[in-house]
């Protein structure tokens, strides 16, 4: 077990270093940031001074080492555009995105899995057919369109929910959260559903397909032949086996949520990382882009680590083979 975790951590560090290198190299490929920051009217002295404060005159390996050292401490330099530390900007935006992604992930999993189980068990019921038809829409409509449709319906036509930004925020230390007030939730719910919908339908279809597969297996037939209760067969034996392959996909899908959040944040003007990165890309704000890249990579690495550990918990075959190899 410890072996396994250490091995995974070493891999994770390696991945992160590679990503850091790529992120850092962005600085080399994109034109002189000083121009962007100071504008064409700046004097030569101003430019030189700016280069010096940004550390752009050091040799590249030195810059990289410094950069990684700083990054590890959460320092990503100054935003070219806003002239403020990137870490501040991110710290300010990160809660919004993480809350949006987390709530979406919970919706996708806790609605998608039961719907998948239901449609797998009650293959021919009317409700299952509705779920499947609706899920086709969820899969085929692009996120931004779903967002706009939801805004039209719940925001404009019905007037039930706010359609942009966050609101009703409470501070917990430096963390601004939407989750503690009803108003906060009213702002969060539409973007969260928009973001969750695609993953939800995907998870539902996957769980359904996997459930159908598992229900055909010999061990389910043998469980029936032993007279076990239907409930125990469906929600014990079958569901647990269904989740083994589904866990990986869910991990990947939660990663994908972060990627899709850029679109959703734009549609709902949600003041998170997505909005920040879009503006940064438009402006060529490399420090923000590169730190975003590093953060996203970190997010994926953590998810993969969790998925591997979950696998380990759920599937005894992995557990035993490793310990068996050890003695």
């Amino acid at each position: 077990m410890l072996d396994f975790i250490v091995q995974r951590l070493v891999q994770a560090v390696f991945v992160m270093l590679t990503v850091a290198m790529i992120s850092f190299s962005l600085f080399q490929f994109v034109g002189d940031p000083v121009n962007n920051m100071l504008g064409p009217e700046a004097t030569a002295e101003q430019r030189l001074a700016a280069r010096e404060t940004l550390g752009l005159n050091d040799p590249i390996p030195v810059q990289f080492t410094k950069w990684v050292g700083n990054a590890v401490q959460g320092e990503f330099g100054q935003s070219y555009r806003m002239g403020r530390p990137v870490s501040d900007l991110i710290a300010q935006r990160l809660p919004a995105t993480l809350e949006l992604v987390a709530v979406s992930a919970l919706i996708a999993v806790f609605v998608g899995v039961p719907m998948g189980v239901y449609t797998g068990l009650k293959r021919n019921s009317f409700l299952s057919k509705i779920f499947l038809t609706v899920s086709l829409i969820g899969i085929s409509l692009p996120t931004f369109l779903i967002g706009i449709l939801l805004i039209l319906l719940f925001g404009v036509t019905l007037g039930w929910l706010p359609t942009f930004g966050r609101g009703g925020l409470t501070n917990i230390g430096n963390w601004e959260t939407s989750l503690l007030t009803a108003r906060g939730w009213s702002h969060l719910i539409l973007p969260a559903i928009t973001l969750a919908l695609f993953q939800l339908t995907l998870i539902m279809r996957l769980v359904r397909a996997e459930m159908l597969e598992v229900l055909r297996t010999d061990y389910i037939k043998f469980a029936k032949a032993r007279g076990l209760r239907q409930r125990s067969i469906n929600f014990g034996h079958a569901l647990k086996n269904t989740l083994v392959p589904v866990i990986t996909i869910m991990g990947l899908q939660i990663g994908a949520l972060l990627a899709f959040s850029i679109i959703t944040e734009t549609v709902f003007q949600w003041p998170g990382m997505g909005l920040l990165i879009i503006q940064a890309i438009n402006f060529g704000d490399i420090p923000i882009m590169s730190s975003y890249l590093v953060l996203v990579a970190l997010f994926f690495v953590i998810i993969n680590l969790v998925v591997d550990l979950l696998y380990y918990v759920v599937d005894p075959r992995l557990r035993i083979e490793r310990t068996a190899g050890a003695h």
């Binding site: 043998f222 007279g227 076990l228 075959r317």
Partner: protein, 333 residues
């Protein structure tokens, strides 16, 4: 023959698969009984309807397959028309089943002990520790060494033969009256097949369970069964005491099967001495289903379908044994 009480009686069982073009009849007018303490062997080529018969008895036909006629009685009580919940309580408790592949019969994510105790506690009102004790005793009984330790292991930590022992323990764990074993050793290594069959037979004796042993290994039947039913194209071709059927087959199909002296491992699939193959369900010929392959076929066989006819201690579905057509046989030859 035995004067013991019948445990399982199957009367005129018919299993159909409705489809767009009508009904496929997978089991057609099959009747047999299994008496207390008896082992009934069921043999026949692949697709003959052996598994369907077993599944129908235990109420586990996969839809759209359904029992379209006949009766199944367990200890004199009909079980083919029970509610799903009542039938569930019959399964495991009064009829157990062992399937072909021990590698896939056990849930990979639960320990062997958990699968045993769950089954025990589903049917018996016993405490966790009592169920665990019973489970350990059962594992010891089926010959698994160090059962106190093995009980907490997962199926993949057992070899194929050991897994089939666990499967047998699972099927017998609440002492059912009847065990249906559907090709219980086909998936196993030849070297351990005989051992597992012996174990199955001894345990069923000890637990007082009658056995319906489905196999296409005539050697297994010869060594294990008291009586044997030979199935062909969804019907019973011949049924009778094992010795008589092997030494003195009445049905031309059985005679073909018995062409050589059966030994364990002698597989019907690989040794069909009879020309041709069993017809598909959609192409069963008129008259006797065996008539296109039968070396002794005569006119009546192509028109009328024979039912089982008493011939000495056996019964055979063949016009040769109908006194009314005896002369025609000679004429045909």
């Amino acid at each position: 023959m035995s004067n013991k009480k019948p445990v399982l009686e199957v009367r005129n069982l018919r299993v159909e698969f409705p489809n767009r073009r009508g009904n496929l009849v997978a089991v057609d007018d099959v009747s047999f009984t299994v008496n207390e303490g008896e082992v009934l062997g069921v043999v026949g080529e692949s697709g003959a309807g052996k598994s369907m018969t077993g599944s129908a008895v235990i109420g586990l036909l996969e839809p759209p397959g359904r029992i379209a006629g006949g009766e199944v009685l367990l200890d004199g009580e009909r079980i083919d028309n029970l509610s799903p919940e009542a039938m569930r309580r019959v399964r495991g408790k009064r009829i157990g089943m062992v399937f072909q592949d021990p590698l896939t019969s056990l849930n990979p994510l639960y320990t062997v002990g958990r699968q045993l105790t769950e089954t025990i506690q589903t049917h018996q009102n016993v405490s966790d520790s009592q169920a665990r004790k019973q489970a350990i005793d059962l594992l010891a009984e089926v010959g698994i060494p160090a059962p106190e330790k093995r009980i907490d292991q997962y199926p993949h930590q057992f070899s194929g033969g050991m897994r089939q022992r666990v499967v047998i323990a699972l099927a017998l764990c609440v002492n059912p009256r009847m065990i249906i074993a559907d090709e219980p050793t086909t998936a196993l290594d030849v070297s351990i097949q005989a051992q597992i069959i012996k174990l199955l037979k001894r345990l069923c004796e000890d637990h007082g369970a009658a056995v319906m042993l489905i196999t296409h290994d005539m050697g297994v039947i010869a060594e294990t069964a008291d009586r044997v039913a030979v199935m062909y194209a969804g019907r019973i071709a011949e049924i009778g005491p094992v010795k008589d059927v092997i030494k003195n087959a009445k049905h031309p199909y059985t005679k073909g099967l018995m062409g050589s002296i059966p030994v364990v491992g002698h597989d019907l699939e690989r040794l069909s001495q009879i020309e041709g193959s069993m017809p598909r369900l959609t192409e069963i010929p008129r008259g006797c289903a065996f008539n296109p392959r039968c070396p002794e076929v005569f006119d009546r066989c192509r028109v009328e379908r024979p039912d089982l006819i008493d011939v000495g201690t056996s019964r055979a579905a063949c016009w040769l044994h109908d006194p009314a057509s005896a002369k025609k046989t000679e004429a045909a030859e």
